[in-house]
Each structure stands twice: as C-alpha cells, then as structure tokens.
Amino acid sequence: MPDFSVVANNFRFLIVQGFFGIGGFVGGTLRLAVPAIALGFVLRIGIGLARLARARWIRVPATMYVEFFRGVPLVMVIFWFWFIIPQLLGLPIPEYGVALIAFVIFEAAYFGEIVRAGVQSVPRGQVEAATAVGLTGAQTMRYVVLPQALRNMVPSLVTQMIVLFKDTSLASIIGYVDLTKAAQIVNNREIRPFELYLFIAVVYWLCTYSMPRFARRFERAV
C-alpha cells in the first residue's frame, strides 16, 4: 500500500535542497528556472526581429538558428553543451553553468518565434501611421510596434515559460540536483518510487498551474 510518510520524513531535503537549492548539493529547480526565464531576453527579441529583417544576411542565419534548435531534442542539446563547453574553454564547467547556457540558447529559438508572431500581429497601418508622423524605422519599432507586440505575446510567453520550467527537470540528467534528482536520491535510499514521484508531480503541478493565474493579474496591471 502507498505510504506517504516517506514524503514527510524527507520533506526538508526535497523542498529546501531540491526545489530551492539551499544545502550541500549544487542544485535547486527554482535556482535554475528563474535565471533561465529571466536571462536572454535580448537574445530572444533579437532573434525574433532578425527573422523578420529585410537583409538576407541577417534573416538567413536567424532562421537557421531557429530551425536547428526546434528540430533537435533538448536532451541532445544538453549533452552537446556538456561535452563541448569544457572542450572549447579548456576548463571544467559545473552542471549549473552548462544547464543554464543550454536552456537560454535552446529556448531562445522558441521564444524568438513568439516574438516574431507578436510583431507580425501588429497591424501594418500602425507602421504606416508611425512613418507618416515622421518616426524612423528604429523609433517605430521601439515606441509603436514592440509595446503592442509585447502585450499580444503575453499568453504565449507564459505558456513557453511553463514549458521551460518543466524542462528544467532534464538538468538532472547531467547530475544537477533539482527536485527530480532529489526525489531520485531519496528513492535510492527508501525505495518508495510511487509516493515520491507522485509528490514531486504535485509540486511541479502547483507551480505550473499557478503561473498563468499570476500572469493574468500581471496582464491586467499592464
């Protein structure tokens, strides 16, 4: 029979170490997810805009970037960085750095597509009106198109943030001690897989399920 006392007994390790990343191991789901979501905004907007550029030498590399990362599993990309970065730099990089770089670069392809769709959703008349009042191309983008595009993007951005949050569990494959890895560690000692994995499923669910609700409040404030 299921016996959930194993969760109560290891609650501190699972939540404090696994979820928040405070403790003896390098880890923490939040410590990876928050910077992974926050970093790389410039890269994301840059890629989204580059996909729409008129100049071929900007558009083609950006398109290749997006198509490449959207055609390859994240697990594969994590292994790439796991092996390549130490080779390139000639020094060992901790799991945390590898995972963070892999997430920022991989997810930029997906976020870039959202930015592109958001910019395309702004009616052409807005651009024409901005040109008519004498704004330059950069000013039009900065003051007219991007503010409207960002507002249209909020729902897709939240969905993608949820995807990223769930994807951070894959960092456990290279040994980063996040919530999933913490449950594995406890399970190796207690052999209670059903209770432990169900518990972390509920923890992940609580986070991802509340994200759109926070976002809606935020959206109303904007």
């Binding site: 959207r70 599993p73 697990v75 449950a183 059903f194 991802t208």
Partner: protein, 240 residues
C-alpha cells in the same frame, strides 16, 4: 583547440548498427505513443464538451494534471512507481518483455494525449458557429453536419498544430533514455562512451533528428497546402 576529428568511428565497429537500432526504437516508441496520444486526445477533447459534469471534470483533471508536470517525472512514475502495484502476472509479463519500453511508451502517450486534446478542442472551437447553423438550415441532421461539414473542416484546421505536437512527441521520446530505453539519444551516448568521440557521435545523432523533423515537417506542409480551405486558413502560402 587541437581536436582531431575522426569521423570513421561512425561507420567502423558497431557504431552504425547501434545508431540504426536507436533510430528504429525511436520510431517505434514514437509511433505507438502517437497512436495512444491521438486516442486519448480525441477522447479527452470530446469528453470536455459533453453535458455530464463528472465526465467533464475527469477529462479536465486528466488534461490539466498530466500536461503540467514534466515528462521526465512521468517516465520515472510509470516505470518505477506503478509496476509494483500491478498483479503478479502482469509484472512478470512486463519485465520479460522490456518493461522500460512499455513504460516509456505509456508515459509519452499519456503526456502528449493531454496536450493533443487541447489542440483538438481548439480546432473544433475555431469553426465558426455559422457553419453549424448553415448545415442545419440546409436540412442536415446533427450526425450529418458533423460527418460532412464540421469534422472535415476541423481536421484541416488542426493539421499545422498536430504536426507541431507530433514533432514534439518525436523529440520528447529522447527523454526515455533516462529509464534506459535504447532509443536514438541513448545509442548516441553509447557510441560516445565506446569510442570516446563525443563530437562525432553527437553530430551523427543530431543530424538524424534534424533530417527526421525536417522531412516530416516538409511532408505535412505539402499536405496542409493541398487540403487548405481558401479564406479559412490564412497561414498557408504567406511569408514565413
């Protein structure tokens, strides 16, 4: 940087055979999981529209819970967590018939079924109500309206998002390596371990995934364009 490439490791020894086996396993697990996902997706998508509250609640619970938890957690849950609660005979059958493959397939199918149901539901909701009204005005019965008007339109509308979701499923099958299903990413790691040639092995695996995804996407874009309804699907033919 003095890395000496040695691409021949990919076709000498067992590497080529391993990669091919990995590709076959990836395709097998994805195809079976896809069937399960489409079945669950259609069932859950339909149940969420029926007028019976308990059935609707069940379908909503399934969709909201399963798609909001990482696939990796589901892999561990279905592989390690569930089998001990199965009857003895089922356990024995599973563990003598590659339990990790079936658990991985099940995890992948159930997870993506929840995501597919959202795609299918939004496809049906995207059909203008006037289509229903027009069908009834023409004298069609409800069943005829669905069979002749609604379903054909819905199927064409959801080709792009279903393609996208199917490619996600194919790529996510790589997560099954964590429960040691010998799929493509697993075999790529094996080649890397045996030859100590990380870059060559990863390049081979990455290229196979890329070719697979690009090929499927190209075929589906053709299909989409062929079956597009002028005026209803704006995306087709427009600039990327």
């Amino acid at each position: 940087m003095t890395y000496q490439f040695k691409w021949s490791v990919l076709w000498t020894g067992d590497s080529g055979r391993w990669l091919l086996q990995g590709l076959v396993t990836t395709l097998e697990i994805s195809a079976l999981a896809w069937l399960l996902a489409v079945f669950l997706g259609v069932a859950a998508g339909a149940l969420r529209t029926v007028p019976l509250r308990p059935l609707r609640a069940l379908a909503t619970f399934y969709v909201e819970f399963f798609r909001n938890v990482p696939l990796l957690v589901w892999m561990f849950f279905w592989y390690f967590g569930v089998p001990p609660f199965l009857p003895q005979a089922a356990q024995q059958w599973l563990f003598s018939h590659g339990a990790e493959f079936w658990a991985g397939m099940f995890a992948l199918g159930v997870y993506h079924g929840a995501r597919m149901s959202e795609v299918i539901r939004s496809g049906i909701q995207a059909i203008p109500r006037t289509q229903f009204e027009a069908s009834f005005a023409m004298g069609l019965t409800v069943f005829q309206a669905y069979r002749l008007v609604i379903i054909p339109i819905a199927l064409r509308l959801i080709v792009p998002p279903i393609t996208n979701e199917s490619l996600n499923l194919l790529k996510n099958s790589s997560v099954a390596l964590t429960i040691s299903v010998a799929e493509l990413t697993f075999q790529t790691r094996q080649v890397e371990t045996y030859t100590a040639r990380a870059i060559e092995a990863l390049t081979a695996g990455t290229l196979i995934y890329l070719v697979l995804c690009v090929a499927i996407a190209t075929i589906m874009t053709r299909l989409e364009r062929r079956f597009a309804i002028p005026g209803l699907i704006a995306r087709v033919g427009g600039p990327a």
